[in-house]
């Protein structure tokens, strides 16, 4: 089963179209393995653990506001499974 330990979801709040374009540049960097959940502002993106530092640094260097919407994706998925099993 997919393992999302260490994955976080960032909510990024570009202040204008220039910043939005800078965020979308990240999508083309395949090594980061980013998963854009939502492309409109605010932009939500799932960031694997190996890319967290790179993405944070990039956003901070460009003064793009963001916060961590989901700190531990796997914990949420585990909870979702637990609820489904408990009802079943």
């Amino acid at each position: 089963k997919g393992d999302f330990h260490g994955h976080q979801v960032f909510r990024i709040v570009p202040k204008d179209d220039v910043q939005l374009a800078l965020v979308r540049v990240l999508e083309d960097i395949l090594d980061l393995e980013l998963d854009f959940w939502r492309w409109v502002t605010p932009v939500d993106v799932r960031v694997p653990s190996h890319s967290l530092q790179v993405v944070k640094t990039y956003l901070e260097n460009h003064c793009i506001k963001y916060f961590t919407m989901i700190k531990d994706l796997q914990a949420l998925l585990d909870e979702e499974q637990r609820q489904m099993k408990s009802i079943a």
Partner: protein
């Protein structure tokens, strides 16, 4: 498993087989109102089930609703289950639904992408596309909402099989899409086509692939405003609305652009509730509130379609 659709757990997410069982129960319990049509098979051979809600007649004008073209958007498939139950419970008790069903049919495809949905339950909860093996690539899947013959291959889709918005090799290459295309064409009397996604709290209409306004834009805009007002009346959930390209971004090969170009004037797509904390992992206790508020908006669109024949 639930013994009937009254004891079915609407407040939790369900596997594909549970959803298929629900469909069969609903048909068995309401044989004069609900029937099941299999419009095709998915890439991996699963049935593409459509529920037909009809009080009789032949080839009546119809409203199409689909949920779950993107596998991981679980609240959409779950909402589809709630809608199905609402249709049968409100027929005969809600005057608008009763009037509509006395003259029109409703088709509901709860899981457009069953392979992807099954995969989200068994392998990868974050899966979005179908499960097509792409020739010449190790990457799997086509984004079914980029595979329609409406600006196919344009901006806002990708020709890279590894992309989440991979459009496929050609328009309607995917059986999940082609089956709907065939159904819509052979039916020939569908008057509204509503495709439901999650999550961004939006109600959108054509176009996504071009900046050219839809010729019915003023009316579509007006209906959308009325629909989101009805939606907000329940819990105050705020929606944006407008054409896809002006409200979100350019997106080519989408379903409602194709249906609109086929002459289905009332073509809409929803992006359901977003609490701002969970994204695709919307907690199950949000399913019923999400479906309930969306149902109010759906009824506005259905009612407008019913009262404005074309």
């Amino acid at each position: 498993p639930a013994g009937n659709t009254d004891t079915f757990h609407y407040t939790t997410y369900h596997t594909l087989s549970e959803i298929y069982s629900f469909q069969d129960m609903l048909v068995a319990e309401n044989p004069k109102l609900v029937s099941k049509t299999v419009i095709g098979q998915s890439y991996e051979g699963r049935p593409l089930n459509v529920l037909k809600f009809s009080t009789g007649g032949s080839n009546r004008p119809a409203i199409w609703i689909d949920t779950g073209i993107h596998a991981r958007e679980w609240v959409t498939q779950a909402s589809g289950i709630v809608f199905a139950k609402k249709i049968v419970t409100e027929y005969g008790t809600d005057s608008a639904v009763t009037e509509i069903l006395n003259r029109m049919d409703v088709f509901l495809e709860m899981v457009v992408n069953p392979d992807g949905y099954h995969f989200t339950h068994t392998n990868n909860r974050m899966w979005r596309k179908n499960r097509k093996q792409n020739r010449g690539s190790t990457c799997v899947g086509v984004d079914l909402n980029r595979n329609w013959n409406a600006g196919f291959g344009g901006h806002g889709s990708s020709n890279n099989p590894c992309s989440e918005i991979y459009r496929g090799t050609r328009a309607h290459s995917e059986p999940e899409v082609k089956s709907i295309v065939n159904f819509v064409r052979s039916h020939g009397n569908i008057k509204a086509f509503i495709s439901i996604h999650s999550y961004s709290q939006m109600l959108l209409f054509p176009y996504g692939y071009t900046r050219k306004p839809a010729k019915d834009q003023a009316e579509l805009d007006q209906v959308a405003q009325k629909a989101i007002t009805a939606l907000a009346s329940l819990y105050g959930t705020s929606y944006r609305y407008g054409s896809i390209i002006t409200t979100i971004y350019q997106s080519s090969g989408g379903s409602i652009d194709w249906t609109y170009n086929q002459g289905i004037k009332y073509s809409y797509t929803f992006e359901l509730r977003d609490t701002g904390h969970f994204g695709f992992i919307l907690p199950a206790n949000q399913i019923v509130p999400t479906a309930n508020e969306t149902w109010l908006a759906l009824k506005v669109i259905m009612d407008h379609t019913f009262k404005n024949p074309y």
